[in-house]
């Protein structure tokens, strides 16, 4: 089996008396798409925040390709190839759609010593940014301020920013949340495309069961902050705890019936 590209060992965070992520040890490998499921408040987003560095763990360690990155800042983790799309849209509202994406391209590729040249003269930056906008069907609104976009387009821009970072670990936090039925496939197709590149590791928080079935190589289940199940999709989906979480059937109800 390939080396894990990302691993958490005994990862824990407490807020006062509440343990939001509880001793989670889990490894993710390149070429694998792992879906993280769990009820609201299970700690999925908090787990993401710990891995991408927005939160510091109370205990435990995070490894990226074998290196301890627990102490790194979010920007250093981004530079190391970890990319994150956020659940709640998290953009630069008064900058244009193109500027939003160009910033991510610029962070990835750098501009070296030419810092004070006019930003418009960096043709390659804008070109690359436009490619990402094409991929997310946003070229028509490239010059609109991000805040002026409808919700679905903001979600797409969120994903475009992640693409522009060109990470090797993709973390999607409910990328299709609140999107209409005809918009969601754009995002899912993109995720599928990334999946074809076996050097990439994909983590996906998702609630829609049809999406989970179509994409997942593996499912892990978080409940009350703890990792309660981990395995192949069919296997995990049939576990009583998952059925309880998603179908509202208590674990013992079926036996009784």
């Amino acid at each position: 089996m390939t080396e894990p590209s990302l691993e958490t060992r005994n990862l824990t965070i407490r807020f006062g008396g509440h343990t939001a992520v509880d001793d989670v040890s889990c490894a993710f490998r390149p070429g694998e798409l792992t879906v993280i499921v769990g009820p609201n408040g299970a700690g999925k987003t908090t787990y993401f925040n710990l891995m991408s560095g927005q939160l510091k763990p109370s205990a435990g360690t995070i490894f990226k390709a074998g290196h301890d990155i627990t102490g790194l800042s979010p920007s250093a983790r981004a530079k190391a190839g970890m990319g994150r799309a956020f659940q709640l849209t998290n953009l630069f509202p008064r900058l244009s759609v193109l500027e939003n994406v160009r910033l991510a391209v610029q962070a990835r590729h750098g501009i070296g010593p030419r810092l004070f040249r006019k930003v418009g003269s960096f043709a390659s930056l804008a070109e690359t940014a436009m490619q990402h906008l094409e991929a997310t069907h946003l070229t028509a609104v490239a010059h609109f301020p991000a805040a002026a976009l409808p919700h679905g387009d903001q979600r797409k821009l969120e994903v475009a920013l992640l693409l522009a970072m060109e990470p090797d670990i993709f973390m999607f936090d409910e990328p299709t949340a609140g999107m209409s039925v005809d918009e969601a496939p754009v995002i899912l197709e993109l995720v599928e495309k990334i999946k074809h590149d076996t050097s990439k590791t994909i983590l996906l928080v998702e609630h829609k069961m049809d999406v989970v079935r179509a994409l997942a190589d593996r499912i892990i289940v978080l409940n009350n902050g703890a990792l309660v199940a981990d395995g192949a999709p069919e296997e995990v989906m049939s576990l009583p705890i998952v059925r309880e979480i998603y179908l509202g059937i208590p674990a013992d109800a079926e036996d009784a019936a």
């Binding site: 991408s52 927005q54 800042s73 979010p74 920007s75 250093a76 981004a78 530079k79 994150r84 956020f86 998290n90 953009l91 630069f92 509202p93 008064r94 900058l95 500027e99 160009r102 910033l103 991510a104 610029q106 962070a107 990835r108 501009i111 030419r114 810092l115 004070f116 040249r117 006019k118 930003v119 418009g120 960096f122 930056l125 028509a140 010059h143 609109f144 920013l161 522009a164 970072m165």
Partner: protein, 371 residues
């Protein structure tokens, strides 16, 4: 083709109706006019006071624009901008006093002021730009107060509250003859004597224009977009790979250095440096008001803010004197328009400006800020 179709032409893009375009034309037109007026100020406005106002406008445009780099572009609230301005001015003034009126004094003193400003800004930035905005603002307030106290207490070097009076290089002295006619007298062009006053003004004007141009380059560079990204969403800027603290510290140092440069110009122009002309908090408040009136996050807004506010500060009293004498005989008006009440009217003017231009004059006209 009908008249209607002709009128809609290629500029009217139905997908992007652009009400901001007219605003941009007005703003840039206004700024262009101000630039021209400043470029020919010694010829257009020949009395001594007008020359003083024009030079102050040049220096303050640089000072206010550099402050806008912090507050408008990056979202950093600092009250220490006059401290950096003062470091540049005092560095130059002390060197001119100690070393005599030479260019070497301006270069050595100015460089010392700039280096001190840069080091102090880097120190404050590294130590406190991580903390919340309000704490950072408090730290800068404390630093600025300390500097003000130092300037008045170290009277051996700074001459305390009285400040320093000194000579400037011969090139800037009124007695210097820049051009002479056949008889060896100072040549007059359009009634303006070609003496040291002219060279001093153009020294200030050209240096200010260069500094302003440099700042325009910064905000239009890739760095400028990163600064705006930090203002817009600090957390996401960090998440896509920008070291927010490093960028903030860098822009804080850049703004400090430019403020110190403005201080050098001010010291050379005034031939006097004291706490009231450089370090006082009333100047800090002026800077804040100018940036808000002009429009935060718009470099050109600082030009408009500085001009409007300077004209009001220097000429509102005169205008009211005129109005008061014109309304003489009418019951209450002359009392209201009494020149001593000019601050009341200035305050009223601010309230109206903020009400009608919530994002500042340039900001509102260019529809940039809606916050």
């Amino acid at each position: 083709m009908s008249q209607m179709e002709l009128a809609s032409g290629p500029t009217a893009d139905p997908a992007r109706p652009d009400p901001a375009r007219n605003g941009r034309v007005i703003v840039y037109g206004l700024v262009g006019l101000i630039g021209l007026a400043l470029a020919f100020a010694p010829f257009l406005f020949q009395d001594v006071r007008a020359g003083q106002v024009a030079a102050r406008i040049c220096v303050f445009i640089v000072l206010v624009a550099s402050y806008d780099l912090l507050i408008g572009y990056t979202g950093i609230v600092s009250f220490a901008h006059t401290m950096f301005f003062g470091l540049g001015a005092y560095g130059t003034a002390i060197a001119l006093k100690q070393m005599g009126a030479g260019w070497d004094a301006i270069i050595v003193g100015g460089a010392a002021g700039i280096i001190a400003a840069a080091l102090l800004a880097a120190l404050i930035g590294v130590l406190s730009l991580r903390v919340k905005a309000i704490f950072f603002a408090m730290v800068t307030l404390a630093a600025a107060s300390v500097m003000l106290v130092l300037a008045s207490q170290l009277s051996g070097i700074t001459n305390g509250e009285d400040g320093l009076v000194y000579q400037v290089p011969r090139l800037f002295k009124p007695a210097m003859k820049l051009m002479t006619d056949a008889d060896g007298k100072v040549l007059k062009i359009m009634g303006v004597s070609m003496n040291g006053k002219i060279t001093a003004y153009y020294f200030v004007f050209i240096a200010s224009a260069l500094l302003f141009w440099a700042m325009m380059r910064i905000v239009r560079s890739p760095l400028g977009t990163v600064l705006e990204a930090i203002r817009e969403n600090e957390m996401r800027a960090e998440a896509i790979g920008y070291k927010v603290v490093a960028y903030r510290t860098a822009v804080f140092v850049i703004a400090a250095v430019i403020a110190a440069c403005a201080g050098i110009l001010w010291a050379v122009w005034l031939r006097y440096t004291g706490p009231d002309t450089t370090l006082s908090f009333s100047i800090m408040i002026d800077i804040l008001l100018m940036v808000v009136i002009g429009g935060m996050g718009t470099m050109v807004g600082s030009v408009i803010g500085v001009v409007l506010m300077s004209l009001a500060q220097f000429y509102l009293k005169d205008l009211m004197q005129l109005a008061a004498s014109a309304t003489e005989g009418i019951s209450v008006l002359p009392h209201l328009l009494e020149p001593d009440r000019w601050l009341l009217w200035l305050g009223l003017l601010f309230i109206l400006l903020v009400y009608f231009f919530p994002a500042g004059i340039a900001g509102t006209l260019m529809k940039k800020g809606n916050h």
